[in-house]
């Protein structure tokens, strides 16, 4: 009993009571979003009927094969992007870091595009093919992060603008790459490629979802444990080192696990912008800047928002569907502008 209590003690160490309560509120919000997301859609379906044993109805088929995987995918991707955004904002000590803005998503998309166009030539429809895409996306996003890192090293806090510029360059490069691949692709490959720029959860199915969820959960747990160290990093790399943080190891971990979560997300749902940028800031505005709060807060709020955005995208213009990236950008873009003004004021 003592052990459990002290475990609990450690969990809320450096986390004010208030922040802990807020996290619980976020949890409830997520549960609510999940419930609403699964309950609404094109087909009328009552979630509670799932618990009856009749699996033959369209209702339960729609729920278990179509809607639940989709809502779960939206939640996991939202959580990934929120967490990656918060982690990158902490690592680069830059409030404008976002997997999309700094080219990380584009790198993942380029990797995926390469897998689609070139991979299908070499690997075809083999069993590997199913793993090739997410793997290529992860490698793509990792390369970009490492590039960003070495190009902005030593610029620290002064390099806010510089990092965005580097991100723009990388985005442009990835766009060119994808453009070239589009050019040389066959018609069916092209179909797959245009998917990347829009972003959608329509491709959710259990085969892809299960391994993706595992990868994301493992990466998320690793990132969540780095909260305190990311706080210390805000004092500067030298100072963090003096406080006992192995800065090299910290950088490596954040880079790798962010790349994995972004890579997996992009490979399953295309590029969805602004979530990684906006969610951590909303979390900070609500409850404070400590990473032990911001990281889990971004996971929970990111998932909730994405599930909601997906719900809107698939019910607003039934029977058609809006690309979910449209909705996240519609909310995210004005917020981004406001953020820039706020930084200018300081």
């Amino acid at each position: 009993m003592e052990k459990i209590l002290s475990l609990f003690n450690i969990r809320i160490n450096f986390l004010e009571g208030r922040q802990f309560l807020l996290l619980i509120v976020f949890c409830l919000l997520l549960i609510f979003s999940l419930f609403v997301g699964v309950s609404f859609g094109g087909i009328k379906a009552n979630v509670f009927n799932l618990f009856s044993f009749d699996t033959a109805t369209l209702e339960s088929q729609v729920l278990t094969e179509i809607r639940i995987p989709r809502v779960l995918l939206a939640g996991f991707v939202g959580a990934s992007l929120g967490l990656a955004g918060a982690s990158l904002q902490g690592l680069f000590r830059n409030p404008l870091a976002d997997p999309g803005l700094i080219g990380v998503s584009a790198g993942a998309a380029l990797g995926a595009a390469l897998a689609i166009v070139i991979g299908s030539e070499t690997m075809g429809e083999s069993y590997f093919g199913f793993l090739l895409l997410p793997l290529a996306a992860i490698i793509g996003s990792s390369i970009v992060i490492f590039l960003l890192f070495s190009l902005t090293r030593g610029f620290g806090v002064r390099g806010v603008i510089y990092m965005i510029l580097v991100g723009i360059a990388i985005n442009a490069f990835a766009t060119v790459g994808i453009g070239v691949l589009t050019f040389i692709s066959t018609d069916s490959q092209l179909r797959g490629l245009t998917f990347w720029t829009m972003g959608s959860f329509g491709g959710a199915n259990w085969n892809l979802l299960a391994p993706a969820m595992i990868l994301i959960i493992v990466s998320a747990i690793s990132l969540l444990r780095l909260g305190r160290k990311l706080d210390l990093l805000q004092l500067g790399e030298d100072e963090a080192n003096r406080l006992g943080v192995d800065v090299k190891s910290l950088k490596l971990k954040v880079v790798i696990f962010s790349a994995v979560t972004v890579g997996v997300s992009v490979s399953l749902s295309g590029i969805i912008g602004f979530v990684g940028l906006v969610i951590p800031h909303v979390v900070r505005l609500i409850g404070g800047v400590k990473h032990k709060f911001v990281l889990p807060g971004s996971v929970l709020l990111g998932a909730s928002i994405m599930i909601t955005a997906d719900l809107i995208s698939r019910t607003l213009i039934l029977p058609a569907e809006l690309p979910v990236g449209l909705i996240t950008s519609a909310i995210g873009a004005p917020f981004f502008l406001w953020l820039i003004f706020r930084i200018r004021m300081q």
């Binding site: 109805t57 809607r67 179909r191 329509g202 029977p319």
Partner: protein, 291 residues
């Protein structure tokens, strides 16, 4: 909205054995509520007088004009599973550009009657599509009559023109749109390529497949006799005069002789019944009033 009882009748366990291999043009058991994903298929539905059965269609279904009033399932390559299912369709017809893959799979797995009508980008292909739909909707007699009365004469005319001009084949460049100053043109295997062949002409582009932008130099080398351009592509210019002055096109025979024809994109590339008429009109213009 979905009626539970009817759904129970038409839906089986997802984990059951895979759907029977439907021969695509087999008569459908229930054609009361049809979702159409493909402009040419919608055109054919109206052609055969079947339009009341349509519950929803995709955004490429823009002809005839009345079709635009029906509910839209969105872009044919970005469909929504639940969106389609929410219409409670008894039959879904589409072409092979229906997507994304996952959505098509999911619809198939609910055992809804889904037919992918084959496309060959030719006049014969159009005829087959019409006949296929005729069989699906169990309208064989009426369909055959319409085909014989309205389509076959046009196809015959086209064949005549083709035969007459075997040796003097005109060379056509088909422009989809402008990408900056480079025109995006029909390569091999595209609907545009098929349309050009339908008119009895030959495609000036033989080096690549698909829709791609081309450089001015390569256009001068290929030197088309005629330029076909979609109406949407034509909107990039104020007039034909402006088009023929484009650096990419100005030195071609077509530009020098102002041999530019602008046509509605779907009419040219949709490969519905009016496609044959359109091809005939173009053939007559190209080869003069010989036929």
């Amino acid at each position: 909205m979905a009626h539970p009882l009817r759904l129970l009748v038409t839906i089986l366990l997802l984990t059951s054995t895979p759907t029977k291999a439907n021969v695509v043009c087999e008569t459908a058991s229930n054609t009361e509520k049809v979702v159409v994903a493909g402009g040419s298929l919608t055109e054919i539905m109206y052609f055969l007088g079947l339009q009341q059965k349509i519950v929803a269609l995709d955004v490429t279904s823009s002809y005839p004009k009345e079709a635009k009033k029906l509910p839209s399932i969105g872009y044919v390559r970005a469909l929504s599973t639940e969106g389609v299912l929410s219409l409670d369709p008894t039959l879904v017809i589409g072409e092979n550009d229906m997507g994304p893959e996952n959505v098509v799979e999911q619809i198939k797995r609910t055992n809804i009657d889904l037919r992918i009508i084959p496309e060959t980008h030719s006049a014969e292909g159009i005829k087959s599509k019409v006949l296929c739909l005729g069989t699906i909707f169990d309208l064989n007699d009426k369909t055959k009559k319409k085909v014989n009365d309205e389509l076959i004469p046009l196809i015959d005319d086209l064949e005549e023109i083709q035969k007459k001009n075997e040796k003097l084949k005109k060379r056509i460049l088909l422009i989809l749109s402008m990408q900056g100053t480079s025109p995006v043109v029909a390569g091999l295997g595209t609907a545009g390529d098929g349309f050009i062949k339908m008119t009895g002409a030959s495609n000036v582009i033989t080096e690549f497949e698909g829709w791609k932008p081309v450089s001015p130099e390569s256009l001068i080398l290929s030197n088309p006799d005629y330029i076909l351009i979609t109406s949407r592509g034509m909107r990039s210019f104020k007039s034909i005069d402006e088009l023929v002055k484009q650096p990419a096109l100005s030195l071609t025979n077509a530009a020098k002789n102002r041999n530019v024809i602008d046509i509605n994109g779907m009419a040219m590339l949709g490969f519905g019944p009016r496609g044959i008429l359109t091809a005939l009109e173009v053939a007559r213009r190209i080869y003069g009033k010989d036929s």
